[in-house]
């Protein structure tokens, strides 16, 4: 009996794995970057893959876009993003796999049409890497963005990877991963924030966040407002502070705590931010490490950061969008009162009172300079 079971195990496995589409890795085109666009009531999905050698890939001649170097783009069209992806799979010579896709680019039109429509198929694909990053392409189609990169002989997926590394240098975590954005889509009261990309001569840049309202692209935040959001979300790792007295400092530690209070249906949020900076550049003669000077500088950097925070809170008040996940915070900290204001949350956002308590410390960087 045991022998029979042992014999049956591999056979059963073969049967069970029939649908797993056993495929050698060299028989697959691994899509590294996936672009999603929407125009003329039609979705276009562009898959950028590494062609490896001359014999590999190639894409369907009718469907594939331009391609130079080792990266190629294959495209599919359909009424929905998923239909476009299936079209891409159907027309490409080799099997298409999204298992290695590290970046998902949403064209601006697709973002305006709705992020849910663009990304829903990702949440139902078991092969997708949950740590893949989602970006919005500012005022451009994702396919154009990718084609321009190929034309400029850029290695797009590597440049995007480099950008991810840079993002991690300034932020403690990337909130634009597939899993985070899909989770954010369940939070109907808060806006979804997705970093937007622009192409620069030197490469790709993240300038700030694209703000979604009811799953549709509403606005692009400027750089400082986006920084303010990062401070409020307590994900800022390092940040430069340039003071007018020709002194540059670098924030090496931050800790933001938000405390929401509801009294008489009025919401007040206390923002407590502690941070530490290191002196990086001094272009003045005075000894800045005297107590008096230090106190002055501390005050200056506090107000510098306060201005950045205010930009984010003011934007939220003016636009009426919850851009730093306040809904969840207010609900968690005021469970019983939340029921009363929940239905009017969108109007309540504009009336929130923000109270700032900013404390900082300046530390010396002992190298050679005094």
């Amino acid at each position: 009996m045991k022998k029979l079971i042992l014999l049956l195990v591999p056979l059963l496995l073969c049967g069970c794995t029939h649908d797993f589409s056993r495929k050698e890795i060299d028989d697959i085109d691994l899509v590294l970057v996936l672009g999603i666009d929407y125009s003329n009531n039609q979705y276009t999905v562009s898959g950028l893959y590494n062609s490896g050698s001359a014999s590999a890939g190639g894409g369907s001649s009718s469907n594939s876009g331009s391609g130079t170097g080792s990266e190629k783009i294959a495209q599919g069209k359909g009424k929905t993003a998923y239909q476009a992806l299936e079209d891409l799979k159907l027309k490409n010579k080799k099997t298409i796999s999204l298992a290695q896709t590290g970046s998902f680019l949403i064209g601006s039109d697709a973002a305006k049409h709705g992020i849910r429509e663009s990304l829903d198929f990702l949440s139902r694909d078991e092969t997708i890497k949950m740590e893949g990053l989602i970006y919005v392409i500012k005022d451009k189609k994702a396919s154009d963005f990718m084609n321009e990169g190929i034309k400029n002989k850029q290695t797009i997926h590597e440049d995007l990877e480099a950008m991810k590394q840079k993002q991690q240098e300034t932020l403690t975590r990337n909130d634009n991963t597939v899993v985070n954005i899909l989770n954010d889509m369940d939070q109907t009261l808060s806006s979804i924030l997705v970093p937007y990309l622009i192409a620069d001569k030197s490469g790709y840049l993240i300038q700030g966040y694209a703000v979604f309202d009811q799953y549709k692209l509403k606005d692009y935040l400027d750089e400082e407002t986006s920084d303010g959001v990062n401070f409020l979300k307590n994900i800022m790792r390092s940040y430069p502070v340039y003071l007018e007295d020709k002194i540059s400092l670098l924030i090496s530690y931050t800790n933001t705590k938000l405390k929401a209070k509801i009294s008489d249906r009025e919401i007040s949020v206390k923002i407590k931010l502690n941070f530490e900076t290191t002196v990086k550049e001094v272009l003045m003669e005075q000894d800045i490490f005297k107590r008096k000077e230090l106190d002055k500088l501390t005050g200056e950097q506090n107000s510098y950061i306060k201005d950045i925070l205010e930009k984010a809170t003011n934007y939220s008040k003016i636009s009426g969008l919850d851009i730093f996940g306040l809904a969840r915070l207010v609900e968690n900290q005021n469970v019983s009162e939340w029921k009363n204001i929940k239905d009017n949350w969108n109007t309540s956002i504009s009336t929130i009172n923000y109270d700032y308590d900013i404390n900082s410390k300046i530390t010396k960087a002992f190298i050679l300079g005094k």
């Binding site: 195990v9 591999p10 797993f20 050698e24 890795i25 060299d26 490896g52 050698s53 092969t127 890497k129």
Partner: protein
């Protein structure tokens, strides 16, 4: 043929054997004749002449003993000086003693013999262990002679409780065995069980280790070794003190240890010679190597054939590029190379040492470089298989290493059939198998599965010796405490 002790009967029995000597010796002083019975080449003939025969010839007192019985009594009470002297009336035992190299004086009238242990045959001297070498530690190893091996054990355990029981196995070979244990520590039920198993062995000859191992293991179908063979007396003595039982077999240059657990097979004497931190690190590397050698080839197959998302993107791309011109599937590549690796190992073992080394180098070049150049395998597969192969050789126990090499193939097959699902099924079967194994009342995965945490101090990590305070309960039920 009549089975009585008689020189004529024995002469007839060995009439065609030129090396067996049955010769009459006459004691002139009292006209009594007895027969010397021995095997030429197995005795120290000079000592027989000097200590036995000459003393008989020149003994002035022997004349007063006129009967065979009186002479026998006199010889045993100081007439002939030797440490091991025994009167024997059992015909079969007499044959056994003489065939093992002892000398017998046969007194036909009494139908008895006096046995003297004056064995001396060509034997290998005690040398360094070939498999369990240590830099810091004892350098002696067991040899093929059972008595020398028991001496090596006794030298290390001078306790009066060390018992060395003599047994015999093999209807034709009559191989001597010694069952060693420390009586005030060991679980006597286990000793009885092993003794019964040995007595129940009914084969002709113990020519290779497998003849005894297969009769003693509790799960003969398992690929995991359940009886540990070691060349090192220090290892035996340490395990005897823990409550285990050693089995010394004449003719084998190693000693068996029972009951054996997986954790023992992963330990090396060097662990205890080094600082506990270094010892722990080395041991951890061994466990990591076991995982690498078991799963790496299978992981590669599963990742490149089914679930490529398990690979980092750069590795996936380089794997894809490396496989572009290889005509075979990943499973064929890995399994083919694993088989080639085994062929090389076998060839290296069978060939003379000098040729074997050249063979390994040449084989390495052929299998590695040439196969890659000819696009038969991708370079990454060569790296994977080599890494798995080398990791397999880190195992301190050769039997475990061999078992793992076979299981590695099973995992590779399962990964070919079902990817990570197959690998997971294999892993579940392996863990279930290991957890269900019981070796003379002690779980094979003990002490990992023991509730008593005090047993966990010498597993993957080696704690300082001062923490080894207790013995495993099932090994030493009456005597737990090692140190206070």
């Amino acid at each position: 043929m009549e089975q009585v002790i008689n020189s004529q009967v024995i002469k007839e029995l060995f009439s065609k054997s030129g090396d067996v000597l049955v010769r009459p010796i006459k004691i002139n002083q009292n006209d009594i004749t007895f027969h010397i019975f021995c095997v030429d080449g197995m005795i120290d003939s000079q000592l027989v002449d000097r200590a036995l025969l000459r003393s008989l010839r020149e003994d002035p007192y022997i004349a007063q003993y006129k009967t065979e019985k009186a002479v026998m009594d006199y010889l045993q009470n100081g007439g002939a000086y030797h440490v091991f002297t025994k009167e024997e009336s059992d015909y079969q035992l007499l044959l056994k003693y003489v065939m093992s190299g002892m000398v017998a004086f046969i007194f036909d009238g009494e139908k008895k013999a006096i046995i003297y242990d004056i064995r001396m045959f060509e034997k290998r001297s005690i040398s360094e262990p070939t498999e369990e070498n240590v830099i810091k530690g004892a350098k002696d190893a067991f040899v093929e002679v059972m008595r020398i091996n028991t001496v090596l054990i006794r030298r290390r355990i001078r306790s009066e409780y060390l018992v060395i029981e003599s047994l015999s196995v093999g209807k034709v070979s009559k191989t001597d065995l010694s069952l060693c244990y420390v009586s005030n520590i060991v679980n006597m039920d286990t000793v009885s069980k092993i003794r019964e198993k040995i007595k129940a062995i009914d084969i002709d000859n113990i020519s290779t280790p497998a003849f005894i191992e297969e009769f003693l293991v509790e799960n003969p179908k398992s690929l995991f070794p359940q009886i540990m063979a070691t060349q090192r007396p220090d290892r035996i003595s340490a395990n005897l003190s823990d409550g285990r039982i050693a089995l010394v077999v004449d003719g084998l240059p190693f000693v068996y240890l029972l009951p054996c657990q997986l954790v023992m097979l992963m330990q090396s004497p060097e662990d205890y010679a080094n600082h506990y931190f270094v010892g722990s690190a080395l041991r951890a590397i061994r466990y990591i190597s076991m995982i690498v050698t078991l799963f790496l080839p299978a992981f590669y197959i599963a990742a490149t054939t089914y679930q490529n998302q398990m690979l980092p993107v750069q590795l996936a791309l380089s794997t894809q590029a490396a496989k572009q011109n290889v005509p075979f599937s990943s499973s064929t590549e890995v399994l083919g190379l694993l088989i080639s690796f085994e062929i090389l190992i076998e060839a290296g073992l069978r060939l003379p040492k000098t040729v074997g080394t050249a063979m390994s180098i040449l084989g390495g070049i052929i299998v590695g470089q040439a196969a890659v150049t000819a696009n038969i395998v991708s370079p990454l597969v060569v790296v994977i298989v080599s890494l798995a192969g080398i990791a397999g050789f880190i195992m301190p126990n050769q039997d475990l290493s061999s078992g793992i090499r076979v299981i590695r193939f099973v995992f590779a097959f399962l990964a070919s059939a079902g990817g990570f699902l197959g690998l997971t099924v294999g892993l579940i079967i392996l863990i279930t198998h290991l957890c269900s194994m019981d070796n003379y009342g002690v779980a094979y995965l003990s002490p990992f599965v023991d509730i008593d945490e005090s047993n966990h101090k010498d597993t993957i990590f080696r704690y300082p010796i001062r923490y080894f305070r207790k013995r495993t309960e099932k090994l030493a039920p009456e005597n737990h405490t090692k140190q206070k």
